[in-house]
């Protein structure tokens, strides 16, 4: 897959900035697209297109446990999030809702770059530069391959290693 980069190379982008708490209390998740990242970049919702890639710094998604954060990015059109590192709850939530994430600590990816990404191998190709993302544990690969935790459990009924 290929995707155009929205770069926010800032550390500790927390869940309040991804989707403020005042908007989270709804089952109509499509409205998150109107507010995703609004306190960080009020233009984000106008710039983002289906299939784009979000690239960030260290500890992306820290703060609350709200699953609305990865959902907001997904309904905005983001297809993959690349960060130097992720907070652990965001990491789990993203996989559980079927939003692929890649941890690449040493990236020098530029805003607007066009990336080629192979999710299976965790390889990111940025022009002539190649990054290898930290591998996901097998259970997370299994969940992603099923399209998320709901589909995984619908099929398996329980966790299997």
């Amino acid at each position: 897959m290929t995707g155009r980069v929205h770069l926010y190379d800032i550390d500790n982008i927390d869940t309040d900035r991804i989707i403020p708490g005042k908007y989270t209390k709804t089952l109509d998740v499509s409205i998150f697209a109107d507010h995703c990242l609004e306190d960080l970049d009020s233009d984000f919702k106008h710039k983002v297109q289906q299939g784009d890639v979000l690239v960030a710094g260290w500890n992306f998604g820290c703060g609350s446990s709200r699953e609305q954060a990865p959902i907001a990015l997904k309904v905005s059109g983001i297809s993959v999030v690349i960060a130097r590192s992720f907070s652990r709850i965001f990491y789990r939530n993203a996989i559980n809702i079927g939003l692929p994430i890649l941890e690449t600590p040493d990236h020098t990816i530029a805003d607007g770059a066009s990336l080629e990404i192979d999710l299976e191998s965790g390889k990111v190709y940025d022009g002539n530069t190649e990054y290898s993302a930290s591998p996901l544990p097998q259970i997370m690969i299994d969940i992603l391959n099923e399209g998320g935790l709901v589909s995984y459990l619908k099929k398996h009924r329980t966790y299997t290693f």
């Binding site: 500790n12 708490g21 260290w58 820290c62 446990s65 590192s85 709901v150 619908k154 290693f161």
Partner: protein, 421 residues
């Protein structure tokens, strides 16, 4: 004899609790499927949890008595959309005999401890990041998102990577005016927002003998502000209204890092805008003008916090131009402060009481600040927009500092006012 004894390798508290819940001995770094003792969701996370649970094919939770819902984050409902989400929770709880704490009962983490849904040595998972608070009881507790919680409702299990642990040794007696909040702000400042990511914090040391259950909840609560999976406090010195077997680490347990903090030298602390790791001694920000003082939250809304504030505000009035919000952490706390006169003292000083819940801390309702306003709060987070307005600035402090500052209108050292804890 277990494998660990054969190889003579010690276990941390996290490794011991997770081994007991996996059914075999586990070590940091391993993935394990573990049995969960209790599962909790709030009105922020429960609606998506129930949706995912239904989509998974779930009808009744694996154990209704261990499935707990709390209406606290936007409670009482500020609008019809949220009112209908609350209704959804009530209907599900009624239909499945799950446990529901409705509006006004209190903040989920306070309720889980008060109502004994968590005990020492247990493994409790909540769809709220501050579920780590139960480390105060020597339990392994951590936050997950809605779908992970739905999976626990379906299976009674979750999967976890057994975390490495950071050992924090707290030694010495806190000085007058220095509270558990100042201790944890010192730790957060030292470890940083990312310093414990994927790891557990494990607290021990001579300071524990001075810490009440409430103090321990304040400390455990902010583990997630360091990225921590959990923050477990050794139960030595902890008194509970029931018998329990303490889970202690082995003397040869392995830690990724050990940090010793001399609590007797800590000054009152402040976390400046806009990050909980932006910690300084109060001396660096004395005199900063505030518009609003806020005492409450799962970090510092307990009886002792409100009593401490009342001891400072007794017979006095808030500074002109300063407003003060107080949210008791639970109805139980509210009933106590009504009975012992604490509420009168605070109300007569000019404070506004709002119902037990999370509203202002998460920016939902009941106290959203205006543009460029400065709030001094006893909460755990001060990220931009946290209280509902990205153009406001939030400083974090202890209830003693917040109360003293509400009197003067500027950030004030409670000791210099001649008031001790």
């Amino acid at each position: 004899m277990s494998l660990w004894q054969i190889f003579n390798m010690g276990q941390t508290i996290s490794e011991k609790i997770l081994s007991a819940h996996a059914g075999y001995d586990v070590k940091a770094g391993e993935l394990a499927i573990v049995n969960v003792d209790s599962a909790m969701a709030s009105d922020t996370t429960a609606p998506l949890t129930l949706k995912a649970f239904k989509e998974m094919g779930g009808t009744t939770p694996w154990n209704s008595e261990k499935t707990i819902f709390v209406i606290d984050h936007a409670s009482p409902a500020p609008n019809e959309r949220i009112a209908n989400l609350h209704k959804l929770m009530r209907e599900f709880a009624r239909k499945t005999n799950s446990v529901l704490y409705d509006e006004g009962v209190g903040i989920c983490h306070q309720i889980m401890v008060e109502e004994q849904h968590v005990k020492p040595g247990q493994l409790v998972i909540g769809a709220d990041s501050h579920t780590v608070t139960y480390g105060a009881l020597g339990a392994f507790s951590t936050g997950v998102g809605s779908t992970d919680l739905a999976a626990i409702m379906l299976t009674g299990k979750t999967w976890l990577k057994v975390p490495e642990s950071i050992k924090i040794i707290l030694k010495g007696k806190p000085n007058p005016g220095v509270t558990a909040k100042d201790i944890i702000l010192e730790v957060v400042g030292k470890i940083g927002l990312n310093g414990a990511t994927y790891k557990a914090l494990e607290y021990s040391g001579s300071t524990l003998e001075y810490l009440t259950l409430g103090d321990r909840m304040t400390i455990a609560n902010m583990a997630v502000e360091m990225g921590g999976k959990t923050g477990i406090i050794e139960t030595s010195g902890l008194e509970l209204p029931y018998h329990f077997e303490p889970v202690l680490p082995d003397s040869d347990a392995e830690y990724s890092q050990t940090l010793t903090i001399d609590v007797s030298s800590i000054r009152p602390k402040i976390a400046k805008p806009h990050s909980p790791e932006n910690v300084c001694d109060i001396d660096d920000v004395l005199g900063t003008k505030i518009d609003m003082a806020f005492i409450g939250t799962c970090t510092n809304g307990r009886l002792e916090d409100l009593q401490l504030a009342a001891s400072i505000l007794k017979g006095k009035k808030l500074a002109t131009g300063v407003r003060m919000l107080i949210t008791p952490a639970s109805r139980n706390v509210l009933n106590h402060v009504m009975a012992d006169g604490t509420m009168n003292i605070l109300s007569e000083a000019g404070a506004t009481f709002i119902p037990p819940g999370c509203g202002p801390c998460v920016g939902t309702h009941l106290g959203v600040p205006g543009n460029n306003e400065v709030i001094l709060s006893t909460a755990n987070r001060n990220f931009p927009g946290r209280m509902g307005n990205p153009n406001a600035s939030v400083y974090l402090a202890s209830p003693a500092v917040v109360a003293a500052s509400a009197l003067t209108g500027v950030i004030t050292d409670p000791i210099s006012m001649g008031k001790d804890k």
